[in-house]
Amino acid sequence: MLKRYSIQLILVACGGLLTYVAYEELVSLYLLSVLMFMGVNVILSTSLNLVNGNMGEFSCGHAGFMCVGAYVSSVLGVWLFAKDKVFGPPVLPPELALYAFPLVILAGGVAAALAGLLVAIPSYKTRGDYLAIITIAANYIIISAIENLGVIGGSRGFMGMKSVISSMEDVAYLPWMPIWVFSFTIFCVWLIRRYVSSTFGKGVNAISQDEVAAEIMSVNTNKIKTITFMVSSGLAGIAGGLFAYILGYVNPGSFNILKSTEVLVMVYLGGMASLSGAVLSAIAFTILLELLRPLQIIKWVVIPLLLIIVMQFRPEGIMGSRELSDIFPWLKRFYRFK
């Protein structure tokens, strides 16, 4: 009994501890924000791993979908629940922000999933590096479109999300952002694990191994590609929404190809098609970025150098395509990854 629910218990305990720590302000705001960015990075890297690892495509425009999610959820949130000089007084009473916040984030995810169609539909015919270009172009198109939308600030960016959060805190004083980031992170990892290990999701791995053979074995490749791209970009949109609310400010420049590169690094560092690898490498990469912060600009020389060295000694990433439960078999007592 205890064994069966131990993962759930541990997660609830972690969430409770995080909430308590944030509520009592036992850790500095800086550390808290690093923890939150870690959650965002976990979502990003696991969702890109779904496409790049499990499905074997090479998508390098993940930040574009993140951008869509960030803008949709922050504009929606500010329009509904905050007083803004562009949108005027809030449409709904700000007290409702408490209940509607997850819906706002999910709406960003849905919008990003629709943007994912921009990549999913060309992927029926194109594969490999040609698809990689389409994803890069999609990233540029999304950023450039938002830069030209003067209503929501264009390239100057968009802000006002802090007042949504403060109106949530007015209703009930709890550290809402850490709570939501934690729950969305768990939700995303859970969703991807269930998706990949479902009967339908087996087709995703089949496409990566041999698309033609998969099609002959009656796998509906187009349907699987569409759904996988939409799930992946939708989760990136959720990550973008959370990112926007953590910072309280978004501008299109922060979702450029460099951000996509960061996510790619997290995926390939962890190992392709390894969910636990993606989670671990996202955590490790965030910690590394923060530890090397005092180096300032040299940081961006040291980190790529470290990664190149890692690649030379472990060309398949930290975990390869294995899961944590394959390396430590005793973990299988607690959870199954079929």
Partner: protein, 303 residues
């Protein structure tokens, strides 16, 4: 009206020449190794900086006249830049290839090499922009309302010359034949006694040398240098190479000129902030209709 069209055409040809010269490096390396060398845009940037240092040295320390400095700067920069490219190949890509790593890990390594080049430059030389010293005086000619400079003509002519040279190397010489053979069948080539590593090094020399040439020409046309100048141009040139059909030299040139033309036309008729949006949308539409690019041949998959 006609004058405006010709004026825009010349601008497009000049702007497209840079894309074409850079796209060439991508396409050569991709054709031989099926590796997207994402560091190539930054090799172009390094080329421009090398040109800056060589030219400044020639003009001030050696005190040469402008034309002599230019004549020495071009080959020196091309050699030094190709050495940078070959160093990346030897240090980062070759060991990975030997280990039989997945292709995409090599791509990630290339991305990392690009980041290192960018930020090492930023750390060493600082964020201040460098002004490129003028080596030849620019003359503005005006024929029938169309104005062009001698530099613009030089850029276009050298791009075309490079195209002819490379097309000749790839289709007529033994090295070119070996390159095409490697891209055709990687396993049979060493059996035929072709030194694969030497051919790969030659590919990197050619590609990076042309990036160095593009660096000089770019620095002479737009004499401001900054460490991030290569990133955006590099990505765009890569997209141009793919639209032309990656692995084909004609494709790289056509794609480069096409991208240049689209960008110049967009700037001529729309606000300049729409440049990326419209240019990339056009490219996306082309790829949607011809998924393997203009010159690309669809690979048949054997079952």
């Amino acid at each position: 009206m006609l004058a405006t069209i010709i004026q825009n055409l010349i601008n497009a040809l000049q702007w497209g020449s840079f894309y074409a010269l850079i796209a060439l490096g991508y396409t050569l390396v991709y054709g031989v190794l099926t590796l997207i060398n994402f560091a190539h845009g930054d090799i172009f940037m390094v080329g421009a900086y090398i040109a800056f240092f060589v030219a400044t040295f020639m003009l001030s320390a050696a005190g040469l006249p402008g034309w002599a400095a230019l004549a020495l700067t071009i080959p020196l920069t091309m050699i030094l830049t190709s050495m940078v490219g070959v160093t990346l190949e030897r240090v980062a890509y070759r060991p990975l290839r030997r280990k039989g790593a997945h292709r995409l890990y090599v791509v990630i390594t290339a991305l990392m090499c690009g980041l290192i080049l960018e930020h090492a430059n930023l750390a060493l030389l600082g964020a201040s922009r460098k002004a490129f010293p003028p080596m030849i005086t620019e003359h503005v000619y005006n024929i029938g309302g169309v104005s062009f400079t001698n530099l613009k003509v030089a850029v276009i002519v050298s791009a075309i010359l490079v195209f002819i040279l490379l097309q000749w190397i790839v289709t007529k010489t033994k090295v070119g034949m070996a390159m095409r053979a490697i891209s055709y069948d990687k396993f049979a080539v060493p059996l035929m006694g072709i030194p694969m590593d030497n051919i790969i090094v030659a590919t990197f020399v050619l590609g990076s040398g042309m990036a160095g040439l593009a660096g000089i020409l770019f620095a002479m046309s737009y004499p401001i240098l900054e460490p991030y100048m290569g990133a955006l141009i590099g990505w765009k040139a890569f997209i141009a190479a793919v639209v032309g059909g990656i692995g084909d030299i004609r494709g790289a040139f056509l794609g480069g000129f096409l991208l240049g033309a689209v960008e110049i036309l967009v700037v001529a008729f729309f606000p300049s902030t729409f440049r990326d949006l419209i240019a990339f949308t056009v490219l996306l539409v082309i790829l949607a209709f011809r998924p393997t690019g203009l010159f690309g041949v669809a690979k048949t998959t054997k079952i």
